[in-house]
């Protein structure tokens, strides 16, 4: 245990990651289960731990609007939200990545309403997956601190220049108390380097420019220009795959802590089949794999660390090693009656030389636990497909 080790919940772990990244401007509006983070960041600003400014605003729409302006003025910025806060933020939310503003925002994931629910679930983050932000998911409180810091380096990388969502499970991580080593300020300063967030679109009274000009329409030139920006955005996302991987390795070199970058494998090398997890459920998943391994099952685990951009090549390389796959989701894809991660993984399976069975499991909605028993069921069911069973329908763990 080093001198910088503290015991805290996930919201405080995120706040320490923010503090070490030295933001110039923070704007927050509290919402369960993010409130603890909003309060801690406000506390840090009040007590000088964060030297930047905090802006109290009247709602999430204003939060991100303020930060867009601050980012265009050259400020490193931070905010966090959950669930319906994110829904209210959506108008500036999907404009931010198109403007290529490297804002870092935590989503403390929470299930959607209705019915009324204030507990964990990933429906909020999964609903906005096509808005053009990078999405990184965390398994532990330590991973939250580290991922927030890495998120700034990823977002501000000149070949990326995109906003990043650091997502972690509401309740399970937001209030889950663990040991967290807060990195030294000097280490983080050297890691992040010189800040330069608005080299591409600086608000400058000496050189006025319009941001977000009317573009597109039926005229050919407008359509070409609009297409060029969309393609450029996709290129930035693809560049991010390489950058995320490199930055995770750099962080490992400095701290010894590694989270897989894009995809992390656990006991996969000699596995016949695997379960695929995202965020905090992965910890239970690892234990369940250990239990099954002790019973002689050749099962492994694949953790999706990066969900946007989707790590197609990395995931294909992992899935190639197994003959069956069970994918666990903490949210719902209504259009396909399955989990959203599962639905994305199906696109990877198409590129395998030989088709393999895959099953969608949905659990942990609205704060429900995904237990070792659930994972035993997931492992048994996935294993059964290797013995000729066919499972077509989504399996709902909390039914």
């Amino acid at each position: 245990m080093s001198a910088n080790t503290i015991v805290c919940d996930g919201n405080e772990a995120a706040a320490w990651g923010v503090a070490r990244s030295r933001p110039d401007m923070v704007a927050v509006y509290p919402i369960t289960p993010q409130s603890g983070l909003a309060e801690k960041v406000a506390d840090f600003v009040a007590n000088g731990v964060i030297e930047g400014d905090l802006m109290d605003v009247e709602g999430e729409h204003s939060v991100l609007s303020v930060l867009k302006g601050a980012s265009l003025c050259g400020a490193r910025t931070f905010t966090a939200t959950s669930s319906h806060g994110l829904a209210f933020m959506f108008e500036p939310y999907w404009r931010t990545p198109n403007l290529r503003l490297p804002i870092v925002m935590v989503i403390v994931t929470r299930d959607g309403i209705s019915p009324q629910c204030v507990w964990g679930g990933q429906q909020d983050a999964m609903t906005v997956k096509e808005a053009g932000w990078i999405q990184l998911y965390c398994e532990s409180d330590q991973e939250i601190t580290d991922t927030v810091i890495m998120a700034y380096k990823i977002a501000e990388h000149p070949e990326v220049m995109l906003p990043v969502n650091v997502c972690y499970d509401g309740n399970y991580l937001s209030y889950g108390i663990e040991e967290v080593e807060v990195p030294e300020q000097e280490l983080v300063d050297n890691f992040l380097g010189t800040k330069n967030v608005n080299w591409h679109a600086a608000l400058d009274p000496d050189r006025p420019m319009g941001v977000d000009p009317l573009t597109g329409g039926a005229n050919e030139e407008g359509a070409k220009l609009f297409t060029r920006y969309r393609k450029g955005h996709c290129k930035g996302m693809q560049n991010a795959l390489k950058v995320i991987d490199e930055i995770h390795q750099d962080w490992q070199g400095l701290t010894g802590r590694y989270y897989g970058g894009l995809v992390e494998e656990y006991r996969l090398e000699d596995a016949d089949y695997a379960i695929l997890t995202i965020s905090s459920m992965t910890g239970t998943g690892r234990d369940a794999v250990d239990v099954a391994r002790d019973a002689g099952e050749k099962v492994g685990l694949i953790k999706l660390k990066t969900f946007r951009p989707f790590p197609f090549e990395a995931l294909l390389n992992s899935i190639k090693k197994v003959k069956a796959l069970g994918v666990v989701d903490r949210s719902v894809n209504y259009g396909w009656s399955c989990g959203p991660v599962f639905q994305e993984v199906l696109s990877v399976l198409y590129h395998l030389e030989k088709k393999i069975p895959a099953i969608s499991f949905i659990g942990g909605l609205a704060g429900a636990d995904i237990t070792l028993d659930h994972f035993a069921q997931i492992i048994d069911t996935t294993s059964s497909t290797l013995k000729g069973e066919t499972v077509k329908d989504t399996i709902w763990l909390n039914e």
Partner: protein, 97 residues
């Protein structure tokens, strides 16, 4: 509020697919959308500038003795005709070329 160090903005190294800023603005000729155009009766117009103040796309231009709309940008909304206190503007249907 801290004062940010001002950097000189240098657009020369910015990739052209990065961010929509108005350094390469392409005009939308919104006049294409028009179904009716405002026709100004030059005898009645007293240059009170009411139409100029109300025009939502700011396309009213000043002539020596009257105001009229720039038809490259006038969308034909008719607000100028509605607001003109002298009844000097009426909307007439666009006839295709």
């Amino acid at each position: 509020m801290k004062i940010q160090a001002r950097k000189i903005f240098d657009p020369s190294n910015i990739p052209d697919d990065l961010c929509p800023i108005a350094t390469e603005y392409i005009y939308q000729k919104t006049g294409d959308w028009r179904a009716e155009r405002p026709l100004v009766d030059r005898e009645k117009c007293v240059k009170c500038a009411t139409c100029w103040a109300f025009c939502p796309c700011q396309c009213i231009i000043e002539k020596p003795l009257w105001f009229e709309a720039n038809l490259e940008f006038c969308k034909g909304c008719g607000i100028c005709a509605q607001e003109c206190p002298h009844g000097a503007i009426k909307m007439v249907e666009e006839i295709e070329d």
